[in-house]
């Protein structure tokens, strides 16, 4: 029994620790300060690059603290978790007092009159004559207004915006909701990529940051990929025509571009990159050195073709995007092996940009590549994140909450009207939980409006 007390004390101490705003301030500043580090040190680069930049010792030291992937490190995550607990505990701690005010049926304004009035003036009319006009005017601005008779004078007690006290808890809740959504995403979602050649299809993808593959449960085919450019040479649009196949049946078809992904069964396909595929077929020309006669042949990669007039055979090898010939960059080229009767097989290169390149070899037949069917693959980012709707709900709540918490306030006023010699003395007291300067301006305007109210015209209007 006795050891319950210290345990309770320790719990209280822990609770007290998490209710402190000093903790919030410290954690926010720590998050800000440590986040800077990750923007100065590139994240997720190769160990070699780090060792080159910082040296072996610094590399090991930084590595221990996960600085190279710091936003996903245990300590950065812990800071975020402490912030989340801090927010939650503070909100629970303050909730009863907030709710008491929001849900209370009473207008409590007693303490207001102890302060200095925000504005005061005299009116030549008797309080009784002013009463109805005042009440109507105040009620237009403060819907919850009550009139209290006090001897020969009266008071109008009014308030508005009680519910705006919910703005701050809403903002805090929104942060927790966003973090919860992020957690859902990290547990139940994935982030991967896949390259699909034009005309090809895939049914599994590769996960990012690991070598694992993930079966999709359906097939994705890329019918076509197009990239268009502006005159300046910068890219204009990347477009992939995708088809979703279930058991070989076409179920969905969509052209995706950047900013317009394909979504199917909770999985999103984003246009992310592209690249050339090695060509499947090339067109070769053989030009006779003597007669200038030209023969064209289409041949698949890896296959052989006979030179005209028994001149030998040429086997197409590989396609290189940037080929260096004796140290000189010659661009895209097709490599292959030429076999001529009575000679050793020779490897020759056929750069696409220089059709007469093969003349140098001084053979009977000059080979060149007249054309090739270049195909592309499309690179798709593939993600699934069931937390996104939760995160977005948090976003909406954050913005609405900030708006209410910052620009709306709970305002209370007391308009006190007492008789004095042949006139009335009017004092307005008031308070707001936020933006007092703006509120005081508003009260002074109300005072000016009330002082211009003339009971005669008021009554004239009502009759």
């Amino acid at each position: 029994m006795n050891n319950n007390a210290p345990r309770k004390n320790r719990l209280d101490a822990l609770w007290g620790f998490f209710t402190s705003v000093r903790l919030t301030v410290v954690v926010l500043l720590l998050l800000a300060a440590t986040s800077v580090v990750g923007t100065l040190i590139p994240q997720n680069a190769s160990p070699q690059a780090y060792i080159q930049a910082y040296g072996e010792f610094a590399y090991r030291l930084l590595h221990v603290f996960n600085i190279f992937d710091m936003y996903y490190s245990w300590w950065f995550r812990s800071l975020i978790a402490i912030l989340a607990v801090n927010i939650t505990v503070c909100t629970i701690h303050r909730w009863p007092s907030i709710w008491r005010i929001v849900a209370s049926g009473k207008l409590r304004t007693a303490s207001l009159e102890k302060r200095r009035p925000l504005t005061e003036f005299s009116d030549r009319h008797d309080p009784r004559e002013l009463r109805e006009g005042y009440r109507a005017c105040i009620r237009r601005k403060f819907p919850r207004a009550r009139l209290l008779q006090e001897g020969k004078g009266f008071r109008v007690v009014a308030e508005r915006g009680r519910w705006t006290r919910l703005g701050v808890p809403a903002v805090h809740l929104s942060i927790v909701v966003i973090l919860a959504g992020a957690l859902i995403g990290s547990f139940f979602g994935f982030d991967g990529f896949v390259n699909i050649p034009e005309g090809g299809s895939v049914s599994q993808i590769r996960l990012r940051n690991s070598d694992a593959t993930l079966p999709l449960g359906f097939e994705v085919r890329c019918d076509d990929f197009d990239v268009s450019f502006y005159k300046s040479g910068s890219p204009k649009e990347f477009r992939s025509s995708l088809v979703i196949l279930e058991n070989g049946r076409k179920v969905l078809e969509k052209d995706i571009i950047v900013n317009d992904p394909l979504r199917y069964r909770g999985i999103n396909f984003f246009q992310s990159s592209y690249g050339p595929m090695p060509p499947k077929k090339i067109t070769l020309t053989f030009t006779s050195r003597d007669s200038g006669r030209t023969v064209r042949h289409q041949v698949a990669m890896g296959r052989s073709v006979a030179l005209p007039e028994g001149g030998g055979r040429f086997t197409v090898g590989e396609y290189r995007r940037d080929y260096r010939f004796r140290g000189v960059q010659v661009g895209a080229a097709v490599l292959g092996v030429l076999e001529r009767p009575g000679q050793a097989p020779a490897e020759i290169a056929l750069p696409l940009r220089f059709p007469t390149f093969d003349r140098m070899r001084k053979g009977d037949w000059i080979l060149s590549v007249a054309g090739l069917e270049e195909a592309y693959y499309t690179g798709l980012q593939v993600t699934r994140d069931p937390g996104v709707p939760v995160v977005y709900a948090g976003f909406v709540l954050l913005i609405l909450g900030c708006w209410v918490a910052f620009f709306m306030s709970h305002q209370k006023i007391v308009v006190d009207v007492r008789p004095s010699a042949h006139s009335s003395r009017v004092k307005i007291f008031g308070t707001a939980n936020r933006n007092r300067l703006g509120f005081e301006n508003k009260v002074r305007k109300l005072g000016a409006e009330l002082s211009r109210l003339s009971p005669e015209t008021q009554q004239g209007e009502s009759k």
């Binding site: 919030t24 301030v25 998050l31 994240q43 993600t383 900030c402």
Partner: protein
């Protein structure tokens, strides 16, 4: 006459307004404040016209997009927002001395856009990733936020000047600065306003990133710096509202926050990342 020319001229109009406000303050010529306000109005008209004409020009070039997609265009919009928010503040609070601190910032922003050799004013077509309606929402909200923080920075500087009010030689100069309570409260209002729009800017950016790249947050340096800025101002708000910080400490805090804004805006261009569009 093209948009770049109009915007260059507008730089000088803002500069003139800044000089008028400064002269009104330093030489106690309160009569100059009124013309200064009119000059700001003229500047806003020029700035808006330049913005609109650039939009029209992009259509004439067959590109057709709102001019909010590179450093030049963002600077133009930034200066417009500073001037507009300043006019609203002046209208509401009637403290034209603030103009002597706000208008130089609008002038600097537009001068940087118009005069700096590394800021290109060419109208470029949009890269694929930028073709989204979120671009407009993201850039507008961010820059309204930045502009509010800029004015809060000016108010913070005024507060620190005013604090040294010790009744000696500079007393007359400082007497024209609004009372500390007004500076403190108004600075706070600007921070609140900026914080709301910074939040909206970050969140709209996240939604956009999710539609373009399939993730709403990726710790890219600019994203991270916008979050750092958000942390700094969030700390300021908690220190003020919960721990009762006022006056000098808040003024300094608000100026530090604006330094974070500047790193988010300019500094990050020197770091690698996805936000390279804003760099040139």
């Amino acid at each position: 006459m093209n948009s770049s020319w109009i915007l260059s001229v507008t730089t000088f109009i803002y500069g003139l307004a800044a000089l008028l406000y400064l002269a009104a303050w330093v030489f106690h010529r309160e009569g100059l404040n009124r013309p200064a306000t009119w000059v700001v109005g003229l500047g806003v008209a020029g700035n808006t016209a330049g913005f609109a004409l650039r939009w029209v020009e992009s259509y004439r070039m067959g590109i057709g997009r709102i001019p909010l997609s590179n450093l030049y265009e963002s600077l133009v919009f930034f200066s417009l927002m500073i001037a507009v928010i300043y006019l609203v503040v002046e209208h509401k609070y009637r403290q034209p001395t603030i103009g002597a601190f706000a208008l130089p910032l609008a002038t600097l922003s537009l001068a940087y856009a118009s005069l700096a050799p590394n800021v290109s004013d060419r109208i470029q077509p949009l890269l694929p990733a930028l073709k989204s309606n979120w671009l407009t929402v993201h850039v507008i909200t961010c820059f309204i936020g930045y502009a509010a923080f800029a004015i809060a920075f000016g108010l913070g500087a005024m507060y620190l000047l005013k604090r040294d009010d010790n009744g000696t030689g500079t007393a007359a100069l400082l007497s024209a600065i609004p009372p500390r309570r007004v500076l403190d409260e108004l600075g706070h209002q600007m921070v609140l306003f900026g914080f709301l729009f910074l939040s909206a800017g970050i969140l709209s950016g996240a939604v956009w990133a999710n539609s373009a790249w399939g993730r709403y947050w990726g710790w890219d340096p600019k994203e991270t710096w916008s979050l750092i800025t958000w942390f700094v101002y969030a700390t300021l708000l908690h220190a003020r509202l919960m721990r009762g910080w006022r006056g000098k400490r808040i003024a300094v805090f608000s100026m530090v926050g604006f330094a974070a804004v500047m790193v988010t805006y300019f500094g990050v261009n020197y770091l690698p990342g996805l936000h390279s569009y804003g760099a040139g």
